[in-house]
Structure formats: C-alpha cells, structure tokens
C-alpha cells in the first residue's frame, strides 16, 4: 500500500521559490499526472518526492512514513528519467537487475524478475546488449524495465516520452497505460504534454509558477477548468478565450463580445454574475460549428460570423472565424461539404458548454457546469 501525500511542500533555491505550498493526496495505485508549462516546478516536485532534492518546507509522506529525511534508496520508489539514465557499462540485463543486486536478492529471483519485465516490455532479444546499441525507443523500455523490476511502492516518471518521435510517443503512451493495468502501482508522471496527461491520468494536477492551479480528473479539468490558465492549457486546439463584458438584458445578464454577438447567460449557472463586468468568455472549438453541419446541442445559440481561413485535416477541419473583434477557432468533425472562406455564415454554439472567467483574476465564474449537471 502506498499513498503519497504532500503537505505544504515548499522548495526554495536561494531567494527563488520554485514550489509554493504544494498540497496533494495521491491514492494507492492512482495514476497522477503533473502537467504545466516549462519551469512551473513539475520536476522539482517530483524530485523532492524521490529524495533527489531537499525539501525547504512541509512534509512528504509515502505509505505511512514521513520521508523528508530519508535518502532516495530508502523510499522504495523507482524513477524513469527524461534522458533514461541507463548505466552505459552494463548490459540491458544488468541494468534491469542492478537495483535487486544492490538489495542483495538471490540470483535466481533477479533472473526471474528481469525476465518477466523484459517479457512485458519486449526486451527479450536485447538482454545482452549495451544501451549504446539500442534505439531511443528500446532505451526507453529498458528504463521502464529497470523501474518495474524492483516492485517499488511508487513509480516516478519525468517526461519519459519527450525524447521520442511523435509516432513512437503515441505508441509508448498506450503501452504505459497498459502496463499500469498489469503492474498496479501508484504512479506520478510529469509531462508538459496535455495529451499525455489527458490519456494517462486518473487525476491531473495542473501547475503554474510553482503552484497547483487545479487538481481533477481529465474530465473535470477539460469540462470545468478552474481558471483561464487551465482552460487555455488543456485541450488542443486550445479553448477560445474572448475578452467580453457582461451586460444587463431582458431576462437577466448576458455576455457581449465587442463588435459581435451577445450571448445570454443561464441564470441558474451564473446567478452570481452581475452586469457591466469585464470577463473572459471561453468557448471550446468543439462547441462551435456552422449551423448546417452542427451536431446536437443542449442550448444552441446562433450567431453569424465570417470564415477567414479553413484548415482541412482529413476527418475534421479547423475553421478560423471572426466573432466581432475576436478571432475564434471552430473544430468541425467530418464536414459534410467542402468548407471555404465565406462571409456571414450562420454558426451555432452551445451555451451549456460556455465558460466564463473573471477578466482580472482568471478565476472560473460558472457556479456549476453543464458537465456536472
């Protein structure tokens, strides 16, 4: 059993604070992904959990032990590094067995465990090769094998796939997911790739400037982003974030896009939002479509806009349209007719999937979301 919990964890490098009051509870066998832009403190946090970096404040617990002052070797963790960090003078077999050898396990047990991990990862044919004689993808597998073999309480991954090409990355992503099904262990996985985060995580921790911006399931961070930052970070293409203003309307309050449409606010969701307030309106590209090819919507709202550019991507197309002064992206699946730049096209968007953020703080204003109801 290995829950991991971080209490008010702080990391300072001299005068610079890299991690601020980090609070998180990770359940046994949970797959948690830290995601965020470069320099937001993901690696630092992970390395503090590993014991490779001192903790400037707070407490880290693995299982029922406070590990603040334990060296890495006593934390019963394994880690896969971005650059793999394979021991170059050892064969694939020796690399994988090294941890068990250090632990003084009997030879036949090491042999058995290395064989099992190599089987899982398709490394059987390379066991007596040195890392230099392996491809990037194979090295990556050896690094994972080395981590698995030791049966740790917690797996730590620091951007394990970022050195692979796009195709291999997708493949390995699936394999890691399958592997976690087979080798159930608590996993903490760092990436700056939101697709990896969405596909792998039980829960995502979105970080920014050394702070947690939001913790939630992939669904939650996608459908109910806690802030404008999360909204812009999760999802590809990113959510349209439009500077707008609330205005009084006949049946309550509406959002007015400068030079563009005025969208009514659902009073059951936005009853706390008064008129005449600067806001950021958030619309996912997926929830905007030309009227003639729009799918079913909960609360459709129609407006007219100019299509300025079309990017066909095969099964889908990206449309760039002018909504008042704002340039907005729409993502259309299986477009039924050829799309071309065009003036005054009727569009639909789903008000039930509308997001509203405070213009200054970026904090989410939706009291509840269509997704939750």
């Amino acid at each position: 059993m290995a829950e991991v919990s971080l209490r008010q964890v702080v990391k300072r490098y001299g005068g610079f604070q890299a991690v601020h009051d980090f609070d998180l509870d990770i359940a046994h066998e949970e797959f948690v992904v830290f995601v965020g832009p470069s320099g937001c403190g993901k690696s630092t946090t992970l390395r503090m959990i590993a014991g490779l970096e001192d903790i400037s404040g707070g407490e880290i617990q693995i299982g029922d032990r406070v590990v603040n002052d334990l060296p890495p070797r006593e934390r019963n963790i394994s880690m896969v590094f971005q650059n793999y960090a394979l021991y170059p003078h050892m064969t694939v077999r020796q690399n994988q067995g090294f941890g068990l050898r250090m632990a003084g396990r009997p030879k036949d047990e090491i042999e058995k465990k290395v064989n099992r991990a190599s089987g899982l990862l398709g490394l059987k044919d390379f066991l007596s090769r040195r890392p230099a004689a392996l491809s990037g993808g194979q090295r990556q597998r050896v690094a994972m094998g080395r981590a698995i073999v030791r049966d740790p309480d917690v797996f730590l991954f620091d951007e394990p796939l970022s050195n692979l090409d796009a195709k291999l990355r997708g493949q390995m992503r699936t394999e890691i997911k399958k592997l976690h099904e087979k080798v159930r262990t608590t996993v903490i996985y760092v990436t700056h790739d939101q697709v990896e985060a969405m596909t792998l995580a039980d829960r995502i921790v979105v970080m920014r400037d050394g702070r947690i911006e939001q913790v939630g399931t992939p669904d939650e961070v996608f459908h109910a982003p806690a802030s404008r930052f999360v909204a812009g970070f999760i999802g590809s293409p990113p959510m349209n974030l439009i500077d707008a203003r609330t205005v009084a309307s006949d049946d309550g309050v509406a959002v007015s896009v400068p030079g563009g449409p005025t969208l009514p606010l659902d009073q059951s969701v936005f009853d706390h939002v008064g008129p005449d307030r600067p806001v950021t309106l958030g619309l996912r590209p997926e929830s905007i479509a030309p009227e003639r090819m729009a799918g079913p919507m909960k609360t459709p709202f129609s407006f007219s806009a100019d299509i300025t550019l079309v990017e066909p991507l095969g099964g889908e197309a990206l449309l760039f349209l002018q909504m008042g002064q704002a340039e907005v992206t729409a993502r259309v699946f299986r477009p039924s007719t050829r799309l071309v730049p065009e003036k005054s096209v009727p569009f639909l968007t789903d008000l039930a999937e509308m997001h509203l953020f405070d213009a200054d703080t970026g904090v989410r204003l939706n009291a509840k979301t269509a997704h939750e109801s």
Binding site: A50, Y84, A85, L86, H89, G99, M102
Partner: protein
C-alpha cells in the same frame, strides 16, 4: 571538388606527421651513428654505417639504469598520487555545492599562472627542514603539488561529461552516494583517469627544473638531470646523449600503450539520449 579537398587534407596531415616525427627520427638516427661519422659525413639523412655502441655504453657503463629506475619511481608515484587526489577534488567540484567553491577554483587557476622558477628558493627552504630535499619522496611531493591543479580541472571536466542522472538513478536503485561513485561513476571515468595518469606521468617523466635543484646525490638523479652529464667540458657527446634519450622514450610509450584504450572516448555513449 571532393577529391581535391580530400587530397589537400591528406597533404596537411602528412605535413603535420613529418613535422611531429622528424625530431624523433633525428634522435634515433644520431644515436645509431658511429662517433667518427657524426661530423665527418656532415648532415645526411642516413649515415653510411650504423652502431649500437652508444646504447651499449649507456646501458652497461653509464649510471643511466639507476637514473631510469629513479625516474620510473618518481613518475609512477606522482601519477598515482595526483590521479587519486584529482579524482576526489574533481568529483567534489563537479557534484557538490559548498561555500567558497568558485573562489577555490579561481585560486587553482591562478596558481598555474606563476613561473615555477619563482618558487624554487622558497620551496627549497620549505623542504629542507623536513628532510625532503634530495629524496625521491620529496620530488613526488613537489610534482604532485604542481600537477594537481591542472589534473583536478581535467578530472572535473570528465565528471561534468557524466550525466548526474546516472548516479541519481543508482541512488534510487539502492546505492549510497559512495556506492554510486564506485559502481557507476568510476567505471565511466576510466578515460578521464587514463588521461590524467598519462598527462601527469609524462610531465613528471621529463621534468628537469625541480629535479635539478632538489636532487644532488648521483644515486637519486632522474634521467633528465642525467642527460646533462653528457655535456662535458670538452663538448657534448651527442651519440650517447641521443641513445639515452631514445631509451627514455620507451617507458612513456609502454605506459601510453597500456592506457590508450581508456583514452578513447565514447564510453558513456548510450547512457542518455544524444
């Protein structure tokens, strides 16, 4: 175009090789030339007859074998001492942060700037009271002191070439820092250790200045000092001197043959994504 560039490159390489090897060739040529032909034939590429007399004299009659022995002891001792110390210092500089680290490194560089002649007298006065003048140990101590800064920098740069993640992975895999050093880092440091050994051995092997000043007794002289004994009042015995010098080339050659496989880089290849 390509072949012209290739040919030009080869020409440059050959020219360099000739430049580097000619002194060696001349050394051997003179050591094999009979004394009476040395001046009478003038400067020819090859003498009309050869002799081993110079070598025979150096080995059998001169005190050179003793000088060689001394030089081997001093050079090996220095190389070993410097390498062990530099391995520790380089590691500390590369992997640890400590107060005054930068200052210390700058200080080490500065020590390399002073001409060595400056310190001979103070050094003599320092060593004399503790009985290290005119001893081989004394030479080893002095050579070690003078070679250590550069060797430490050399080692430091080799450590810097080894990704920190390797020892971190080892420490997660159950090693203490020391175990990680011994089991992971040291095997990868062999090229660095080889380079340092080679560099220091050669430097100590051909050192003249301090050997000349600190060694007075005939039985403790090193060969570089010994070579000077061929410069007599009546002139220089070139043949014998060159024979001794040729023999002196052998130990470093053997030494380098020994360590050359470690000098070849690329041992860390495959540790990390290039």
């Amino acid at each position: 175009m390509k072949s012209i560039t290739g040919a030009a490159l080869w020409l440059v390489r050959l020219a360099y090789l000739a430049f580097a090897l000619f002194p060696l060739f001349w050394l051997i040529r003179i050591s094999l030339t009979p004394d009476d032909l040395l001046y009478s034939e003038g400067t020819t590429i090859w003498p009309s007859s050869l002799t081993l007399a110079n070598f025979a004299y150096v080995i059998e009659e001169s005190p050179f074998p003793v000088f060689f022995g001394n030089t081997v002891i001093v050079s090996l001792g220095t190389a070993a001492a410097v390498t062990v110390l530099a391995a520790g210092i380089g590691y500390a500089f590369s992997r640890f942060e400590f107060a005054g680290k930068r200052t210390l490194m700058v200080f080490l560089v500065i020590t390399q700037l002073f001409p060595l002649v400056m310190v001979i007298t103070p050094l003599y006065q320092l060593l004399a009271p503790i009985g290290l003048v005119n001893t081989r140990i004394g030479l080893i101590v002095v050579f070690t002191a003078f070679n250590l800064p550069f060797a430490a920098f050399l080692m430091h740069s080799f450590y810097e070439g080894i990704p920190r993640e390797l020892e971190q992975a080892a420490m997660i895999d159950g090693c203490t820092r020391f175990q990680a050093l011994i089991r992971i880092i040291l095997p990868l440091m062999l090229p660095g250790i080889g380079a340092t050994l080679g560099f220091v051995f050669t430097a100590a092997w051909s050192e003249l200045l301090f050997s000349l000043m600190l060694i007075t007794s005939e039985t403790k002289k090193t060969f570089a000092v010994g070579l000077l004994s061929f410069v007599g009042k009546s002139g220089v015995d070139w043949g014998q001197m060159m024979a001794a010098a040729t023999l002196a080339l052998i130990p470093p050659a053997i030494f380098f043959t020994f360590i050359q496989k470690y000098l070849v880089g690329g041992l860390t290849a495959g540790a990390v994504k290039a």
